[in-house]
Symmetry: C2
Subunit: 408 residues, 2 copies
Amino acid sequence: MSRLVMKFGGTSVADLDRIRSAAAHVKREVDAGHEVAVVVSAMAGKTNELVGWVRETSRLYDAREYDAVVGSGENVTAGLMALTLQEMGVPARSWQGWQVPVHTSSAHGAARIERIDTERLEAKFAEGMHAVIAGFQGISSEGRITTLGRGGSDTTAVAFAAALGAERCDIYTDVDGVYTTDPRITRKARKLGRISYEEMLELASLGAKVLQTRSVELAMRYKVRVQVRSSFGEEPGTLVCDEEEIVENRVVSGIAHTRDEAQITVAGVADRPGMAAALFGPLAASNINVDMIVQNVSAGGHTDMTFTVPHVDLARATDVLEKARSNGDVAFDALHVNEDVAKVSIVGIGMRSHAGVAHQMFQALAAENINIKAIATSEIKVSVLVDRKYLELAVQALHDAFGLEKAS
Amino acid sequence: MSRLVMKFGGTSVADLDRIRSAAAHVKREVDAGHEVAVVVSAMAGKTNELVGWVRETSRLYDAREYDAVVGSGENVTAGLMALTLQEMGVPARSWQGWQVPVHTSSAHGAARIERIDTERLEAKFAEGMHAVIAGFQGISSEGRITTLGRGGSDTTAVAFAAALGAERCDIYTDVDGVYTTDPRITRKARKLGRISYEEMLELASLGAKVLQTRSVELAMRYKVRVQVRSSFGEEPGTLVCDEEEIVENRVVSGIAHTRDEAQITVAGVADRPGMAAALFGPLAASNINVDMIVQNVSAGGHTDMTFTVPHVDLARATDVLEKARSNGDVAFDALHVNEDVAKVSIVGIGMRSHAGVAHQMFQALAAENINIKAIATSEIKVSVLVDRKYLELAVQALHDAFGLEKAS
């Protein structure tokens, strides 16, 4: 009998009606002959309520007590889902993290799953009892409840799929799959049938909120086939899988964009060895991720250095640099900030074997008179920084240029 | 170092402000040198919300899943209370039932505490860490979460006081103690300094909602001194203790009343052996508690039988009797129902050694022209059934007759 993990996020279990709809998906798969492990999040809004209470109680809260409070939302949904399934004639039993148990590290609030003991679940499967698992949580070696951090239920689902040897891990969510680009920007955006782990990872780290980065890493490591699909319909979604499973021969799979970056230009930096280290050292020490670094050609022993930082870190970043200057750690003339920028990226495993992809990208942007302010590349990704007003135009031009509206 | 268990009910932890007030009581006792185990209920309304969800999901719900859902309210309060205490500088750690663990029977929804393993708590006490315990819950031998039934947090508190050898178990609630009678009926009602377990048990079973009957039974068995006191002040409350600790020499300690009973008269029953069994057998089989039975003198081989049942069971009781009649199991002429009745009871361990207490009660009622419709007695209690309109008058007359306004 084949196994399936089915994960439902907060909006898919937001109230009793939604839980019933989700349970109907489970019943369909059970009727089709699967042994199912259902992973559920807390009802939408519940985790935020609990987090709010903890923060209001204690500014520098004890992370162990944070986890004890915040993990409770999933327990409610797990019990209600088990009851709903029973009501539909599907034998089911709920499992909290400590009951399975799901062993995690002791990094409360951001714990990592280390091992899942599946014996008790297996025993119940053998009795014909399907499992409903409270996502997002586990137990530390000290016997305290841990949580995996935001989006952790995706990770729970993938980890169970690996531990149970499931045929697939279906992530039911409020979108029906992974698209070639944001459908709000172009109606030519097309749902992908399949996407590789590597591409999904790049898209996730570029801000596509479909799957949590860590869950994709885990899926890639254990070769868990993950399907992203809608809770509100029965059409298949997008399968995230090994590239060997992908027969389509495409160079670019998707186009991502983000408005969440800001550009900083440090003008008039003395151009000498160790200058970059002196500049970026304090930023790294403050946990600020620097991206898309551009250094101008030096003139008169001085140069300009441009880079991007996440928008939320902008104020902190300029602060850190100004402090480094007043400490005498670095010397520069001025800081210029540009918040009206956007990053547009093309992602595709086909790039590895195709030369000239970046060139094709730049040409498409040039044809629309879009100026590129910075470039960053990885093995399967090219990102460019453009003025924010060109964001939609750039995405549409690239979507056309790489022929993404056509299933290849 | 002496130990104290402090229990806070739902209204005492209804929101973050209330939790802070409760925590201030705990800090006071910690500062006074006690090792404290705090037992908390769910925030007021939370348990009802969870129960509502379960009932809406499944009419004949699986009690194991009911417990998994309904027990989660206490976990939230326990974590928040631990955080609040830490914030006040009181080292504290939260404990869920399975973490202690609190071993219970497998009677989900109404489990009994069988054993509390205190080693982990003791180890934390030794480190100077006070305990916050989620009330109302435990773990079955199958590793499933159990709940103790309504009011179960009182029982949790008393059980921990016994297991930890606590000097006292303080139940913080929204009343400031146990009164000689309901202060809404007479302003002469007086807060009792002490009351014996036996008296408290009678009062609890007569509808005084101060303490859960089961928790008083447990306190009596393990000689746990229980103090009922207000969360909203610092005055001492009422100590529920062994009668040997009570030096006051009083005959009657309190007057209880309830409107929750209804009177049924079965008219024209054939007066023959086995008649009572035939009548009350079907009621017992339907789990209906019959109280205050009065049998008239037989006339012409027939008699009338009068008794009371809890008001909520009235419809079911008449149904059962009518069915028994149509089955031919019993024979009677008619059923008469009187819902306009009330039960008034005097309770006191002094009755054991004082003759004439019932007589004194009947005289006081007669002096007010209050007709007694039925009588029931136990070793330390006399109850009478009266027309409901006389309830307040009866209570006031008895309060005066036994001199309860004066501390004896």
